[in-house]
């Protein structure tokens, strides 16, 4: 345990202050450090990844790390199979999660995930001031520009750029009459304490079905209800909906195994003697229904703990009170305030065919953080990244390699893209990974943006957007049953696109 005097980042002025020591804050700190951007990291938690000390209840994460993949663990392409490790250009910092799992499951346990983050912090030399709670925020306009003042339990931090990576972690419940009789998901007890109880779970998303799955053999009866039908990820062909690990309650429901899954609005919860009565209105025919339960659990989600940021002008939206963001994860209403980690899902991107990016999970937002670090370094600190030149003969192979192994466009489909610019004076350059919407809407040099997309039918396919004289054209390439985008057909299609730029 470090002595108090050894804690880094005394209160004071820093160019950038990151709040949070979860995967989002840590990934951003590592990426900013690599680009030489001085910053402080503060966290209310005592150690990295505080959230994983509490959730999910039933121990294992929903995100996999496959120990055996067709590519080397030290390669960038392995990130496609490893959803949990943080990312780095340094091979020694890659795939850390793999070696910290006991081999019994590809889904890490909470302690394994905590160890993964702590190991990354140690090896990457990330410094965090733990036990430092951000409490309030002010804006100050001086002669030399605007600053934010973050008031913390340790004192005041002043900065021009503040990045909040505090998770979407504050329990939320609707204002339904009697909801105070319900415990929130966040307060779920040990499974055995629900033995022989009649449970009513409000909410039919992953948290509700996680509880139902974990308590199936303990509870006497489980009823889950919310107004709209539950979606299943295996039906949406995406991470939208209840994950495959939690579908057992559906079988119990269908076969009369003590689980009922209802589409109904919860009108009230009333105490009746030692039990609770949940009054419902069915979504299909509007009829009333009452269900008696010993306990009601509100699996109604979480909101973003933004404290007083809305009072200084940060606009929020949606049930999760996510901050409205630009494509570069900056507050749409208060420039200089950025977001990392799961909050970055507030910058939704195109959501083509209704499929969101994976910014709500580590395997999505770790890339957002790296792109954000480059943006902050270039736009605010004039540390411009090198854009490597590509030979005309190399472009086709470059595109194929990205489609075959590039992790950013694989995990953040139709959200992040690899951009190659084609300019008569500057030649052909790898412009790196950027949010797809900035390529489509931002103007700029001629070029192409490579990404991978899915249409919700189960098909996954490469898409290349070209920009020539300001006109954007979408080129969808063929899907492949084994997701092999290196076939002759794909090479020919890309060659045709490149020919439009005069690249043979």
């Amino acid at each position: 345990m470090a002595e108090l005097s050894e804690r880094p980042f005394e209160p004071g002025e820093y160019p950038v202050v990151i709040v949070g020591s979860g995967p989002g804050g840590l990934q951003l700190s590592a990426a900013l450090t690599r680009r030489g951007v001085d910053h402080a990291v503060i966290s209310a938690d005592p150690t990295p990844g505080g959230m994983f000390r509490r959730w999910p209840f039933f121990q294992r994460l929903l995100s996999w790390t496959k120990p055996y993949a067709p590519v080397a663990r030290s390669s960038r392409a392995f990130e496609r199979a490893d959803w949990n490790s943080l990312i780095s250009d340094d091979p020694a910092l890659r795939a850390i999660q793999v070696d910290l799992m006991d081999g019994s499951s590809e889904f890490p346990s909470r302690p394994e995930m905590e160890a993964n983050l702590a190991t990354f912090v140690e090896r990457a030399g990330i410094r965090v001031r733990y036990g430092c709670r951000w409490e309030s925020t002010r804006r100050e306009d001086g002669l030399d520009g605007q600053r934010f003042i973050l008031v913390t339990s340790d004192g005041e931090y002043r900065c021009r750029i503040a990045v909040f990576a505090v998770g979407v972690a504050e329990p939320w419940r609707p204002a339904t009459p009697g909801m105070e009789f319900a415990a929130h998901y966040a307060d779920t007890r040990a499974a055995e304490t629900y033995a022989d109880r009649r449970l009513f779970i409000v909410g039919k998303q992953n948290s509700g079905f996680e509880l139902a799955s974990g308590l199936l053999h303990w509870a006497r009866r489980i009823v889950l209800a919310s107004p709209s039908p539950a979606k299943l990820s295996v039906n949406t062909h995406s991470l939208v909906g209840v994950r495959a690990r939690y579908v057992q309650p559906f079988e119990d429901h269908n076969l009369g195994g003590g689980v009922s899954i209802l589409d109904a609005a919860i009108e009230s919860i009333e105490r009746t003697g030692s039990a609770l009565t949940v009054r419902l209105r069915r979504s299909d025919d509007g009829s009333a229904l009452a269900v008696e339960a010993d306990e009601v659990i509100a699996a109604t989600g979480f909101v973003t703990p933004l404290r007083d940021l809305p009072e200084i002008g940060v606009a929020t939206f949606g049930q999760s009170r996510l901050p409205a963001q630009t494509p570069w994860w900056e507050s749409a209403t208060v420039p200089g305030i950025f977001f990392a980690g799961t909050i970055s899902q507030g910058s939704g991107g195109l959501k083509k065919h209704g499929i969101p990016a994976n910014s709500g999970a580590v395997h999505g937002h770790r890339y957002n953080a790296r792109v954000l670090a480059r943006y902050i370094a270039e736009e605010r600190f004039e540390r411009r990244d090198e854009r490597p030149t590509l030979g005309a003969n190399d472009v086709l192979g470059f595109c194929i390699d990205e489609l075959a192994g590039g992790p950013e466009i694989f995990h953040q489909r139709a959200y992040l893209s690899r951009v190659v610019s084609v300019d008569p004076s500057e030649g052909i350059r790898d412009d790196g990974v950027v949010p797809l919407s900035t390529f489509l809407d931002g103007g700029g040099r001629d070029g192409l943006a490579i990404t991978i997309e899915a249409d919700g039918s189960g098909a996954t396919y490469p898409t290349i957007y070209t920009r020539r004289s300001g006109t954007i054209v979408e080129h969808q390439l063929a899907p492949h049953p084994l997701m092999d985008f290196t076939t002759l057909e794909h090479r020919r299609a890309i060659a045709d696109i490149l020919a439009g730029f005069g690249i043979a």
Partner: protein, 140 residues
């Protein structure tokens, strides 16, 4: 920020959802997703596939065809349904003129939604009929 109950109350005042009882409105609020666009952001992109159906809760948007603004849309109005119904890419950009809060339903979910909510489909048909009538008036 608004809860689903507050969104259901808002929807009750929109012509598109005016025939729905409260339980159905709450289900609509659960089915759609709330989204927010800063001033100047493109919401629909002319010629690009995979867009959604949008209902405006707050704000104002411009319909832009080949760079020329043709019309504006405001609170309670909707857009994006034509390309979804026809299975084609949008023939116009829709751009936020002010910060916009919208509800959005993914393209692949629109048919199921309309079939389940025939009163919404009827109201949408009425709106389309009005647009067609107005377009015919301009031509004559």
């Amino acid at each position: 920020m608004a809860s689903n109950l507050e969104i259901a109350d808002t929807l009750a005042g929109f012509a598109l959802f005016a025939d729905l009882p409260s339980a159905a409105l709450e289900r609509v609020a659960h089915t759609f997703e709330e989204t927010w666009f800063p001033d100047g952001e493109r919401i629909l992109r002319q010629g690009l596939s995979g867009s959604g159906f949008f209902v405006i809760l707050e704000g104002e948007a411009a319909i832009i065809v080949d760079g020329t603004q043709r019309a504006t849309l405001g609170r309670g109005e909707f857009f994006g349904e034509v390309s979804i119904l026809l299975g084609e890419s949008p023939v116009a950009d829709v751009v936020a003129l002010r910060p916009m809060r919208c509800l959005v339903l993914a393209g692949p979910a629109v048919e199921t939604f309309l079939v389940e909510q025939p009163r919404v489909m009827f109201r949408m048909l009425q709106a389309q009929a009005r647009r067609l009538r107005n377009a015919n008036r301009w031509r004559s």
